[in-house]
Symmetry: C2
Subunit: 178 residues, 2 copies
Amino acid sequence: MGTVFLDMVMSLDGFVAGPDNTDSGLHDWYFAPAGNATFVIDELLETIGAMILGNRAFGEQPEGFDTPYHVPHFVLSHTARPTIVNGEASFIFVDSIESALAQAREAAGEKSVCVAGGAATAQQLLNAGLIDELQIHIVPMLLGGGLRLFDQIKPVKLEQTRVLESPGVTHMRFAVLR
Amino acid sequence: MGTVFLDMVMSLDGFVAGPDNTDSGLHDWYFAPAGNATFVIDELLETIGAMILGNRAFGEQPEGFDTPYHVPHFVLSHTARPTIVNGEASFIFVDSIESALAQAREAAGEKSVCVAGGAATAQQLLNAGLIDELQIHIVPMLLGGGLRLFDQIKPVKLEQTRVLESPGVTHMRFAVLR
């Protein structure tokens, strides 16, 4: 069975979005990948069998956002909504992390479940002990403010399992030690 | 002339000390270096010509702390104190970052000036635009609380100049873009 991993982009000072929720260029490397970033993105496309994301990360688009991942996306939402099918991707609205995780594991089969944000969703799953691995893409900027990825979390011991450098970003992987 | 660089160890979630100011194992890699850590530590010993540190980072030892750096250490302190000589190292107490930096540059000559903490001193020098480079040693742990390195800072654009992986730590270097 695949692992449940958190995949997030953050600035060196720990923000996943800048002040006023701006992207601040954090994802530039993703949209114009160079060096190891190409491998890392291809690996994500090949290994992810299901996604979990928060309602705000999903966004407010009625059709679901444009995703390169042709897998079921389980969106945490307190409001019941009908499933959205967008090409080969689907968006299924669920009301708890436990339900999201059970359905995502089932859908992913041998592949991995990717928790793709936002920060609050990441914190909730981390604090519930439901994350096996972290992939953090560290971007060389100090934003000075915004939305912190690691805030209000319990201590977690990690093992550094991979470090890959790309132009303008470093991809770090960690296993959660239990 | 050498650069002025910040050299700090931080957890993946951005803390330079854990709750209650404990080290939390953040510096274990430094005291038992393996892999690239040996090179990185040797490089520090060879290239640092003067140190700047805050009064709390210096500590309260009357003789000055045991330092492997046989260079002048400029300690920010609001209280005038006589210089301490400890073997080949010395501790000179200065009352402003400008004075510390001027004296440290002079003492370092062609070598680099290392700003070695604590967090408040790092923030003060960063916000004054006085840091040319950052070397951040990222340790694979989420402490969940403690003293944040990057807090109350202005936005800074960085260029990632080097990434070295060692067992239990990743050494990242950045140039400050102006």
